[in-house]
């Protein structure tokens, strides 16, 4: 069961990374982690002439039984991503604009991506 979950997650993160790349985001890092947590994907893009670094949280669903991906994001989770973001900024000396994005990935029974959705600048 555990292994299966990890596989699902990896599949979703791969799909999310491809999608962001197609949308013109420059992928800086994947699975940035330290002892306090993990950020799934870190990307960079110009928005209205200003450089943003986006910290992307990917949520993958293999079946419908547990609700929608965004229902798994709460303010605590966002706060954790934000704090991790600050650590990343510190480590890589980024002194600019940041934001948090969420990508939801739906998988069908065969493990194929059936739907993918990108929420920009998520705030609760």
């Amino acid at each position: 069961m555990k292994r299966n979950n990890r596989k699902t997650g990896e599949r979703g993160e791969r799909a999310a990374g491809e999608m962001l790349g197609q949308k013109g985001y420059e992928i800086i890092a994947k699975n940035y982690r330290n002892k306090w947590g993990e950020i799934d994907i870190i990307v960079k893009k110009k928005v209205r002439d200003e450089d943003y670094v986006m910290f992307v949280e990917v949520k993958t669903k293999a079946d419908d039984s547990y609700g929608e991906p965004w229902e798994m994001i709460d303010s605590r989770k966002l706060k954790r991503v934000e704090n991790m973001g600050y650590l990343w900024c510190e480590e890589f000396s980024w002194d600019g604009l940041c934001r948090i994005d969420v990508v939801g990935v739906w998988l069908d029974i065969m493990g194929e991506v059936s739907k993918i959705k990108h929420w920009e600048n998520v705030q609760l």
Partner: protein, 523 residues
């Protein structure tokens, strides 16, 4: 980027300038916070401002926004900071292309989600503060803008939407054209009131000449009046006709009254000034705070809403005694101070108390034909509901006898008492206005004093010179009625009004004699 916009904070009738500083950071995660002692409504303005900016066609910045309302020690209450905060964000995030980050003028008003600027309270005070501080222009909601338009020397811009204001600001740097707003033209405060059809005309009141005369004196000098009598005698009817004999507000008076109504949020949209003398008739279940004012952010109560007008307390004994006793101090001083943990406020409350009462629980005590069925104890208990100190503060005490039935029925044939032969409210009001004119001239150099009833003892001595025989008469009356010092001065003030009604400069014996007659014990 940092932008600075000015606005106004109001506590009671006092207002002060507030600097709204907006910082839009170019690093970190998006956020939106307001500091500087905001209350709940100011905190909620984040949601309104964000949606209003987006729905006005601008992009709300995905950046860290910090708003500071300075001075930070003053509590910021209400939704009026929406507009300055929104303007500050537009300036700081450079979406409207205005390079200037500090703009002159006061910005004040609540925003709707659509970007519409809504009717807000206290706009008159914004205009007044702008004038005092030498601010040239103010931007206020269109519906409340006429209130401020009475202030001369300040350009008042009536803002309909945030988008319109954004256009106006960017036009100033030459980005767009034809979109410059024009200030309102000043509304003269001396405009006369248009006459309104009274609900009840004094002409409709049958008989009751004494009560009508007392009402005339009361209206002319602003004296307190109590009408005591059996049910159905016409007390309430006289009270209802009372507004129709009141003189119109003087311009300075209108400004004072409008200030109170503006702060209470009771100004109708689009109206510049309260032009009619207030007439408030709170129900006897009104709480003490409702009567004198209160709330954690103290708001004016009924007595302040009746400032320079009439506070009508129908069935006075039905009011709880504790409620009535709070009237004692404001009746004397003409102002009320309300202190709460969150702050204190002082509101003017110089009102004319008009009261009515039955003589006993059943109402028929001293009735010429009907028998009173109340026990001694019941009457005594009833009498205690109005305290001596309150009665002492009432200048005119009048007994209202029941109307004789044949007067009601023989209306058509009796020549004496036809509706047409009785005096109309208009005729009485003309006399009242003449008496007020004399008072206006008398108190021209005294700020905030408009009628005889507002005179302090020093002014009584100055303006009510008594001849020796009048003085002698008063001494006799004093021993007969056992007048208190306050009542003594009140008699002189009433006599002054009676002389004014007669158009006489000197108070004569007949004036004092009539005034003393209204101190008769009717309660």
């Amino acid at each position: 980027m940092l932008a600075r916009v000015k606005s106004v904070a109001t506590v009671g009738l006092e207002s002060q300038e507030v600097l709204v500083e907006v910082d839009v950071a170019s690093k970190g995660f998006p956020a939106f916070e307001i500091v500087g002692l905001p209350d709940k409504a100011v905190g909620e303005s984040r949601a309104r401002v964000k949606k209003a900016i987006e729905n006005s066609g601008y992009k709300f910045p995905d950046k860290r926004i910090t708003v500071n309302l300075a001075p930070a020690g003053v509590r910021k209450v209400g939704s009026n900071y929406d507009l300055p905060i929104a303007v500050g964000i537009l300036l700081a995030s450079e979406v409207i292309g205005v390079e200037k980050k500090e703009i002159e003028g006061y910005y004040y008003g609540e925003l709707g989600l659509s970007g519409a600027v809504k009717h807000s309270r206290g706009v008159l005070l914004v205009g007044m503060l702008a004038k005092d501080n030498g601010i040239k222009e103010i931007f206020v909601p269109v519906e409340s803008s006429s209130e401020a338009a009475v202030i001369e020397g300040v350009s008042v811009y009536a803002v309909r939407t945030l988008g319109q204001l954004g256009d106006h600001l960017s036009v100033q740097v030459g980005l767009a054209n034809n979109k410059l707003m024009k200030p309102l033209s000043t509304i003269p405060i001396t405009d006369v009131t248009r006459e309104v059809e009274p609900v009840v005309d004094m002409r409709e009141v049958i008989g009751q000449e004494l009560a009508k005369r007392a009402a005339e004196i009361s209206a002319a000098g602003g004296h307190n009046l109590i009408l005591v009598g059996p049910p159905g005698a016409g007390k309430t009817m006289i009270a209802k006709a009372f507004p129709s004999i009141l003189p119109p507000l003087l311009p300075e008076e209108a400004l004072e009254v409008t200030k109170i109504y503006s702060v209470s949020g009771m100004m109708p949209a689009g109206q510049a000034l309260v032009r009619r003398r207030p007439f408030r008739s709170p129900h006897h279940t009104t709480s003490r705070a409702g009567l004198i004012g209160g709330g954690s952010n103290p708001m004016p109560g009924e007595i302040s809403l009746a400032h320079l007008g009439v506070l009508f307390l129908d069935e006075l004994p039905e009011f709880p005694r504790s409620t009535l006793e709070v009237l004692r101090q404001p009746m004397e001083d003409g102002v009320v101070q309300i202190t709460r943990v969150a702050g204190k406020a002082e509101y003017p409350a110089s009102f004319l108390l008009l009261a009515s009462a039955n003589p006993c629980p059943c109402g028929f005590l001293n009735h010429p034909y009907k028998e009173c069925r109340c026990g001694e104890r019941a009457i005594e208990k009833y009498r205690k509901r109005i305290s001596g100190p309150i009665l002492d503060r009432i200048d005119l005490h009048v007994w209202v006898d029941p109307v004789e039935v044949n007067k009601l029925t023989s209306q058509d044939n009796s020549k004496q008492d036809k509706v047409e032969s009785r005096e109309s409210s208009k005729m009485i009001r003309e006399r009242v206005e003449k008496a007020r004119k004399m008072q206006e001239a008398r108190f021209a150099e005294h700020n905030g004093i408009y009628s005889n009833s507002q005179m302090g003892n020093r002014l009584v001595k100055k303006y009510c010179k008594l001849s020796s025989d009048v003085r002698e008469f008063l001494t006799t009356a004093n021993t007969k009625y056992n007048l208190s010092a306050r009542a003594y001065y009140k008699v002189i003030k009433v006599a002054r009004t009676i002389a004014d009604l007669a158009g006489v400069d000197e108070i004569g014996l007949e004036h004092v004699a009539e005034a003393v007659q209204y101190r008769e014990d009717v309660w």
